[in-house]
Symmetry: C2
């Protein structure tokens, strides 16, 4: 057996770029399975378009065109009416993994990783060999060019830069992809766009499908959602390492100034309080000299101080009314209920807020099983009737790993008159908004199962479920009363004839009185409808409306 020593074993030691890593592990970015890959591409481009439009206070208008080029080969065009990308940054924005404006901001945005669009460019290159084409118009310039990524160095390669003529405003990206497939399924592009419209009632989005069919989801409101503000981190939401990083990056001359400028809810009074706990904190000292030990004491002191809750205007919800309008628009349900919770924090100080809705009837419920694509393993896990969203972005994959699934599936639906959650026409809508959504993977399709987040989702969904339960009980009682009424009315005719003979009273009058009696008892007064009060109690409708 030839023994190898360390130098031989390590002679092949190499460093790799993040692009090279994702080239080899593209499934981690969501590129696994042909159908999913196409949805991932649309997701990345649409997400960027929406973020850019909203940042510039523009009501988004997005157009998605997908054309079939050959077997498992498609051309994709996504255009928006946003602010455009400055030409000098186009290469980095589209062809440098981990570059962008969003990564370091403490602000609610759809994208947050700086991987999405560059991931598309990478996937386009490795499956089609082609560059991505961008045409953009900003307020200063109009240009087009071809961009691709140098995988070894994670740097952009730009060709054919040219000026654009005419009226161009916004960004249009066109790219070719192999190893993808358009399919009308639970996890396909159409469903993704439909759900995007559902969670973003202020956008107009159009899809031109490969079969030439064009679908437009027009905006349900012209009101832009409340703009999310960039906020400072809350003292309860930072780790020792965070404090140290902030301190060493700070431009403040003194530690007191550093504390005041860095953290939300910090005040001279709170600095005094902090200092009274961390005795050896020198407020006059340059923050660059703060050590791990001091930072650790600061974090520990922060936890002993009473703070105002984090600034919640960092959050941009969809809005109760907007969700209801959107659900009615798209699912056409016979019942809808929406709840927005108050903002809460997780991990001590990261603000988030949960909105939930339940639609029942109409097009609600699990989509009909779509035909299985060949080799599409992801089709085996059905999301069922849970519509998951994070920062208004639909999550279509990895359902089993997600805090939303965990919360919704863990509920005892029978208590809410839903005997079989998977089979009934019920759709549960949940949107989690946060400055930092803790995704469980780079593909951003599942929210990590943080206890505080699961708890808030449960409370929100339970609230909607109680409304649904009252609605369903009402219908059930109504149906019960109606069937009893019908049964009794059959006898009323017979009975009034018999009574007329016995009493000598007029048959018509008797029938009329009996009818009135029955109607009062069985249609207008629900309390009287049941066979016994105990039975009613058992069905749990003590809070049914009391009629008269």
């Amino acid at each position: 057996m030839p023994k190898q020593n360390a130098d031989e074993i390590f002679k092949e030691f190499k460093e790799h770029s993040i692009s090279e890593f994702f080239r080899r592990n593209s499934q981690m970015l969501g590129y696994s399975g042909k159908v999913r890959s196409l949805t991932t591409i649309i997701h990345e481009y649409v997400t960027n378009s929406l973020d850019a439009c909203e940042e510039a206070d523009i009501l988004p208008e997005i157009r998605v065109e997908i054309r079939e080029l050959g077997e498992n080969k498609y051309s994709v065009l996504v255009s928006d009416n946003g602010p455009g990308i400055p030409s000098k940054l186009a290469g980095k924005a589209l062809a440098t993994v981990l570059a962008g404006t969003k990564f370091h901001r403490y602000k609610q945005q759809r994208g947050q990783q700086g991987i999405g669009a560059a991931g598309c460019t990478l996937f386009s290159k490795i499956t089609s060999g082609k560059s991505v084409h961008i045409a953009a118009g900003t307020s200063r310039e109009k240009y087009e060019c071809d961009i691709t990524i140098d995988i070894k160095s994670n740097k952009p390669l730009i060709e054919n830069m040219g000026e654009l003529q005419g009226e161009v405003s916004g960004t249009a990206i066109r790219a070719d992809f192999g190893d993808v497939k358009y399919e009308n399924s639970d996890h396909g592009v159409y469903e993704y766009i439909k759900r995007t419209a559902l969670s973003n009632p202020h956008i107009t989005i159009t899809l031109l499908a490969p079969d030439g069919k064009e679908s437009t989801f027009p905006r349900a409101t012209s009101e832009l959602p409340k703009k999310a503000r960039e906020i400072k981190p809350h003292p309860l939401g930072v780790t020792t390492n965070d404090v140290l990083e902030f301190a060493h990056r700070s431009e403040a001359k003194k530690s007191s100034q550093f504390l005041l400028e860095t953290f939300s809810r910090m005040s001279p009074g709170k600095i005094e309080e902090t200092k009274s706990i961390v005795k050896d904190l020198d407020l006059e000292q340059n923050p660059h000299s703060i050590t791990w030990d001091t930072a650790e004491k600061l974090v520990s002191a922060f936890k002993q101080i009473k703070w105002m809750v984090p600034e919640m205007d960092s959050l941009s919800e969809i809005g109760e009314k907007q969700i209801e309008v959107a659900m009615k628009n798209i699912l056409n349900p016979s019942f809808a209920s929406v709840t927005a919770r108050k903002p809460k924090v997780f991990r001590g100080g990261i603000p988030f807020v949960v909105e939930a809705g339940i639609a029942y009837g109409g097009n609600s419920g699990k989509p009909k099983e779509a035909p299985k694509g060949e080799g599409e393993a992801e089709m085996q896990i059905s999301e069922g009737n849970v519509l998951r969203f994070a920062n208004k972005v639909p999550l279509l994959f990895d359902a089993s790993n997600c805090a939303i699934t965990e919360a919704v599936k863990g509920m005892d639906w029978k208590r809410y008159s839903i005997a079989n959650f998977d089979e009934e026409p019920i759709s549960v809508f949940v949107n989690v908004s946060s400055v930092y959504v803790p995704y469980s993977g780079v593909g951003k399709q599942a929210i990590s199962q943080e206890e505080e987040i699961i708890g808030e989702i449960k409370l929100a969904v339970q609230d909607c479920a109680r409304s649904l339960q009252r609605h369903l009980s009402g219908i059930r009682n109504q149906n019960l009363r109606e069937s009893r009424y019908k049964a009794i009315m059959i006898y009323v005719k017979q009975l009034s004839g018999d009574l007329a003979e016995i009493t000598g009273a007029k048959r018509e009058e008797l029938e009329k009185s009996l009818k009135k009696l029955v109607e009062e008892r069985y249609l207008l007064n629900p309390e009287g409808a049941s066979a016994s009060p105990a039975e009613e109690k058992a069905e749990g409708v003590e809070d049914a409306p009391s009629g008269q």
Copy 2:
């Protein structure tokens, strides 16, 4: 509303290092939940130790020590008897994300991403503020030093480099961590180490737990597993982009030479065949001038040619006998069955092989529910009784996303006499080995649900399950026969007395003959034991041994 133009919006455009990305998203590396984080750390270090030992043909001896430093703070020491790491590479190996020897090799190894150890250094830094200490001895040098990572640049920072005295051979890494917790649970370090011993019967591994308890799993065999060989890619397992990359990196002068040197199973004959399909391929041309178009034609041509299957000695299985020994050692079952499938390929040409085992009785089955740690969301998903392994490494998390879970849970266990899979004392062991395991996340805890892999797992587990079913039917029949035998023996005494009176024969002799008759019928001849042949048939034991 102040409109922002593109230049304002993009003014904060920045590039980030991969370290910075994982600092913010450490949950993606497996650092989510205190218990899971500690298991992830041990997993990364042990994996590296085992790979290094085996590469150097050394029977691995690993020692893991975990000491509690304070609330949720622990010190970890992992030492091995491996070849050591050369000092000039220690910084990169421990403190550069995406650097290593494994990333680019086409060879079965436990690690494959170049993230693991550097991820630990990163997590140590952000939770303890400390450097990692390494002491190593190679055949040329003995040294120790402190290493940490500069997160902004993804570069190592090395301090206190010094020579080591005495007999030192191998690598010992000591690091402190915060935000972790030692717990004896389904997902804890002890379970991880136990399963590592189960899938690596040639190693000796010792755990010193924080409570001072030391557990050693001694090796069950002194035979090193067959060494995995680095192989060339198979023509059926490459994409157009792969061919292009290989061609442009090739040092061959001619395309014919490039084909011959690059691909497994390529021969002058096969090159001729390829050329006869790709007419415009110039075999004399430098491979650097191969275009996407030509590469695409090559891949398409490869698919039309008959190839020998990939070289399967690239795979290093555990071995049927070894699995059985290990299962018996650790689970002490009353029944064990193991199946090793023949190597197969997925995605056209990537070799992989599945081994499966079933243990029944003894300590098999779902571990008793451990007490829930606070905030440990991952505890909510119980792995149940499926022991998952990839390249002999135990997978303890993200079970619901994994091809192994998908295959095992999807089986109709009732057909194999297992009425309630989750409750019975059954453990299913599955190990998937490949030169490239398609993990679904950076945390490497779940195998992506590739159809070919799921199919092979099913076949392997079904084979074991059939043996189990025969075993369980045998026991059931045995029990049935024994209870009938006992019932009849009660009457034998009575009957022999009665018969003696009637026939005048000796009571003792009659009893003896009757006993013999009954014994033959009910204990030795299973066929005769059943009330009716139809009943036997219904229980599906047509293949029971026919006794005499």
